[in-house]
């Protein structure tokens, strides 16, 4: 990896260079009922509008590569059959200006399933390959347990990652595009003092986490606790509303629906992101539902994320961003659910 440092004032210049593209970044979206500021990723071209000191966005950046709803194909129907039109909905490159490590890691996890699997998803791949990601260091929030998930820092999946050293940024360069870009602003080689500061800050950061999840032997413990009463406890609270999956940066389950147009001459196929907590998630043809109880559905969400995915890819399908817990009206949070299954509550 190549490292550089540059003065903070140079960031606006870097933004300007990238702004020939469509830019997505964190912006403030008012305050919640307790006066806490809210942030979200939005298409934003003005550097001044970016809230680079943002804490956590309400929604994850997932929707820019995996939209909540996407038309997969359209059909023109005629008396003898139909013609199919496929559009991958890739319009232009997208620059992410200021993505935290958890979200970068989330995209890396989505890649495992949607890009690096036997049958890559072209709709996802087209958008994912067209990203330029500028990562940005963050400060642990009360809901963050990324450190437990091993996702508190990103080692790949970005072009450029900036760590705030106070007056300047410490830049990690992973792509030729990023290298060329930095050659157009005023950059220096990091000094040994910068190295020390970087190490000090990352070490400091790791001490500031207040939430953690014990992942040791978790796959086995989940197997052992299949019939745990804890699942019923959380299942009773669950609203089966799908909010956790919708704000999750790694949930990718979906449903596909075909709909004929009103004129009976056209039709379309749409993919909508779904959630395993929804009542009809495991409903099959004929009407049988494999998971009619909320508790079972909630349990399998945890099994997919912290057992099945770990067995398949040696890592959980969770980056510990804590969005699901923060968004859950019933206050169901992964650290508490996992602790209760471990019998620690």
């Amino acid at each position: 990896m190549i490292f550089k440092v540059f003065k903070k004032e140079e960031l606006a210049r870097l933004h300007e260079l990238l702004a020939v593209n469509i830019m997505v970044g964190p912006v403030a979206r008012g305050n919640d009922r307790n006066g806490k500021p809210l942030y979200d990723f939005e298409v934003v071209s003005d550097f001044a509008e970016l809230a680079l000191d943002y804490t956590q966005t309400v929604h994850s950046p997932k929707r820019f590569v995996l939209p909540y709803r996407e038309t997969l194909s359209t059909f023109t129907l005629n008396p003898n059959g139909w013609e199919k039109q496929v559009d991958l909905n890739v319009r232009h490159p997208l620059v992410f200006f200021g993505m935290h490590a958890c979200d970068i890691n989330a995209l890396n996890k989505l890649d495992l399933v949607l890009a690096k699997s036997t049958y890559p998803n072209p709709y996802y791949l087209g958008k994912r390959k067209n990203l330029f990601i500028l990562g940005l260091s963050c400060n642990p929030e009360p809901q963050c347990f990324c450190r437990s998930m091993g996702t508190d820092s990103a080692s790949h999946g970005f072009d450029l990652f900036l760590t705030d050293l106070g007056g300047k940024y410490f830049a990690e360069i992973l792509s030729a595009t990023a290298f060329d870009l930095l050659s157009q602003i005023s950059c220096q080689e990091p000094s040994s003092k910068d190295h020390t500061l970087y190490k000090h800050l990352t070490n400091e950061k790791s001490k500031r986490y207040t939430t953690s999840v014990d992942t040791s032997d978790l796959t086995k413990i989940l197997d052992l606790e299949f019939a745990s009463k804890a699942w019923d406890y959380w299942g009773e609270k669950c609203l089966s509303c799908g909010t956790c999956a919708n704000v999750c940066p790694t949930c990718y389950c979906y449903g596909v629906e075909e709909q004929i147009d009103l004129d009976l001459r056209h039709a379309g196929k749409t993919r909508s992101l779904h959630s395993c907590n929804l009542i009809d998630f495991a409903k099959v043809a004929g009407g049988h539902n494999f998971r009619p109880e909320s508790a079972t559905r909630l349990k399998y969400r945890y099994y997919h994320k912290h057992r099945g995915f770990v067995e398949a890819f040696e890592e959980p399908l969770c980056v510990g961003c804590g969005r699901c817990g923060a968004a859950c009206l019933a206050d169901i949070t992964p650290p508490e659910v996992i602790a209760s299954v471990r019998g620690k509550m």
Binding site: R33, Y68, L278, D280
Partner: protein
């Protein structure tokens, strides 16, 4: 218009439909006449034989009857029974037909004669307790909403014409609200029935920053016990919650239970 209706070269029968209203604002029928961009395609799919709001001709020879409104008078029971007899498929159109709708708010009062006096004064009319259609006749299909969403009706009618199974979303409004990238209204300090109300409206109200009032009735799983707890956590009192839950009638039985739990006469109401 006219001509043989075909789908992929297969001839389809154009169903004869009638639109009717009992006690209602007729807003749902008005919705059907909106959306001019698709109106001609919509009209081409069906043969309308009865639609008081849209045409002068009247006929009783229909396959599908769309009935808007709730039953609040004896003569409406007779009319509804007659419609049921004529129709192969009876569709309850909108919240009034499905749950009683806004009209059923009057059922909150125990003395209906007092209600009549408050509303009509010295000019009483015949009026009884409010009922949804299903209290009197078999309802084959329900289309929810106050008002109904035209796009949803278009989809349902297309499915009926080509013979597809008509399906409603089973999940609550939260799903569609998140897909619209909204910030949860509870976080903004507003009350919302989205977590328990059936989706299908594309989060119409919440996307316009207005909390859900539950016009589409309960989702297949409506965790009302948890909702009660959430309301408490977010600082909404029982009466505020009941105002919402009782507004359209879809949550009537739960609202009754919640009111009984209160065990005190609700305030702000002139209950004799």
């Amino acid at each position: 218009m006219g001509g043989q209706l075909t789908y992929l070269g297969v001839p389809l029968a154009r169903p004869r439909v009638g639109f009717f209203e009992l006690t209602s604002c007729e807003g749902c029928q008005l919705q059907l006449l909106n959306n001019e961009a698709t109106l001609l395609d919509f009209l081409n799919l069906v043969e309308i034989v009865n639609f008081r709001e849209g045409m002068s001709e009247r006929g009783d020879n229909y396959d599908i009857a769309f009935v808007e409104g709730s039953v609040t008078r004896q003569d409406e029971i007779a009319r509804l029974t007659e419609i049921r007899k004529n129709a192969k498929v009876l569709v309850a159109l909108g919240s009034c037909a499905c749950f009683g709708g806004v009209n059923q708010l009057k059922n909150r009062f125990r003395d209906l004669d007092w209600v009549k006096k408050e509303v009509y004064g010295d000019f009483p009319i015949e009026s009884m307790e409010v009922h949804p259609l299903a209290d009197f006749v078999q309802v084959d299909l329900e289309i929810y909403g106050c008002p109904i969403k035209k796009e949803e009706v278009e989809r349902i009618v297309t499915d009926l014409v080509v013979g597809n199974t008509v399906r409603h979303p089973e999940y609550p409004v939260c799903m569609e609200c998140k897909a619209n990238e909204n910030i949860c209204l509870f976080e903004l300090g507003e009350l919302c029935l989205g977590p328990v109300t059936r989706a299908g409206c594309d989060a119409w109200c919440t996307s316009n920053r207005r909390g859900c009032w539950g016009c589409r009735g309960p989702a297949t799983v409506a965790n009302l016990k948890q909702l009660e707890e959430i309301m408490h956590t977010y600082g909404f009192d029982r009466e505020t919650i009941l105002d919402r839950l009782e507004c359209f009638g879809g949550f009537a039985s739960f609202a009754d239970t919640l009111r009984d739990k209160g065990k005190k006469t609700p305030t702000g109401r002139k209950n004799p």
